[in-house]
């Protein structure tokens, strides 16, 4: 029984990481109806970035975040302004092809630069630190992932409801054409959304690098996890994304408790079940 509860608890905490994987994807889809197929590879790129800064330059992991998040955000803003805005439109195909190309390029660049070896970021004492909670031990890193997810999603929620830019983003997903009549430059709005999504990607990448092994080709499975979390939670709903991440994490945790080989499979099976029973997701954003 304790084992089962522990598997659920660890799954919930892991769900925080999956919610972070998914947050950027969800935000970009919500605002722009745009799917970034290179999303998972950007997460892995951030992980390698952290590895470079920590292992090779000797920076502490926390400092890697301070450097990587703004760097990724700036890259996201410019990438949207200079490249992605050119393929935005009624047709989603050009964007899909473009980001698929990014994905292939990025994987091969990382393969070239870092070899195919599986890597992990050594976070020193953080790796093994844990808090006792009754019969359970809560690892510091999983706790950090979960609280980060809460803070990021809470912050995004506040940004979306309390700032004019955030309201414009919600308005854009309602009626993008009319947002122009409000005097808002859509190209800038899109770039802000991508910048935020990219900053979250950097954060997720660093946490993933501490939590698990990764290699240049492990972006695809992260993209899949992100998709599953977004779709289970309901498109466009921030807290739904967290719920989706948690469900995925718990399913994987329980699967692994039965047999370590079932970890990934259990997540996919639960995803499939939810997709069949509730294709609109658990918390779809209300639409008239």
């Amino acid at each position: 029984m304790t084992d089962l509860l522990n598997a659920i608890l660890q799954g919930v905490l892991l769900g925080g990481l999956y919610a972070l994987f998914a947050a950027g994807l969800s935000l970009m889809f919500g605002v722009m109806r745009f799917v970034n197929l290179a999303h998972g590879d950007f997460i892995v790129a951030a992980a390698f970035g952290a590895l470079l800064l920590v292992d090779m330059l000797g920076l502490p992991p926390l400092l890697a975040v301070v450097i990587l998040v703004p760097a990724f955000a700036a890259f996201g803003y410019l990438g949207q302004r200079l490249v992605l805005n050119r393929v935005m439109g009624r047709d989603i195909m050009p964007g899909i092809l473009l980001t698929f190309g990014f994905s292939v390029m990025l994987q091969n660049l990382m393969l070239e630069g870092f070899s195919a070896n599986s890597r992990r970021l050594n976070a020193g004492w953080l790796d093994t630190a844990s808090l006792p909670l009754g019969p359970f031990q809560i690892g510091f890193v999983p706790l950090l992932m979960f609280t980060t997810a809460l803070l990021v999603l809470g912050g995004l929620g506040l940004f979306m409801s309390q700032t004019n830019t955030g309201r414009l983003m919600r308005a854009t997903s309602d009626d993008a054409q009319i947002v122009g009549l409000m005097g808002a430059d859509r190209r800038h709005l899109f770039a802000i959304a991508t910048a935020i999504a990219s900053g979250v990607v950097a954060l997720a990448g660093v946490l993933m690098a501490i939590k698990t092994n990764f290699d240049p080709s492990s972006g695809s499975i992260r993209l899949l996890f992100a998709f599953e979390a977004v779709i289970m939670g309901g498109l466009g709903s921030l807290w739904g994304t967290l719920a989706g991440g948690i469900i995925l994490g718990v399913a994987q945790g329980l699967g692994a408790a039965i047999d370590p080989g079932y970890q990934i499979l259990a997540g996919h099976v639960v995803f499939l079940i939810i997709l069949v029973l509730r294709p609109q997701g658990l918390f779809p954003r209300q639409r008239p």
Partner: protein
Amino acid sequence: MTNLLSVRNLDAFYGDFQALFGVDLDVEAGEVVALVGANGAGKSTFLASVTGLLPTRPGSILLRGANIAGEPAFRIARAGVAMSPEGRRLFASLSVEENLRLGATGGRKGHWSLEKVQALFPILKEKRRQGASELSGGQQQAVAIGRALMANPDLLLLDEVSLGLAPVVVRDIYESLPAIRAAGTAVIVVEQDIGRATEISDRLYCLQEGRVNLTGRSRQLTRDQIGAAYFGRARSAA
């Protein structure tokens, strides 16, 4: 003195289909101009051209003497043109107050503020926390006009505000027009109801099949003249 809005020889296209042919139209500061015409005459196309939703040839639309044709919609909005679009087009997942606040995105200063708009349409204060899609048609129309006013425009475009509304509600909506004029805003009203259009406007343009076929002071035009232009008999009779 330059006009607030000068439209000269405006052509507009949807792909290969030409919707406007050489339209000339002027609006002076503070003036109310009515634009009438049958369905498909080009009224909404005209407004889409002025607001930049439909790209047009540079030089064909001037705002205070400066070209706005071919500019993106957000620049034209910031230059002082706001619209209550056909079908209202509110942001459905935002509250009434959030819809209104977005109108002020351009940051133009002027008479209108959230308080003033809520005073003009008191229902918008009462329902400020409700989702914009939960309101009745007339209330939604008030939100659409309020949202446009929040931009403090020099020129307000009202596209078919009476569409789908009961006559008494339409009257309420149009009763806001004197207050809007008093704040110095010029208005172009697109209206199907010829009687109402002549009653509320200083001047009137009638469009038929993408061309202006009648224009003049609203008081001086007879119902027959407008009716003939509206249904296209003016040209065949001439």
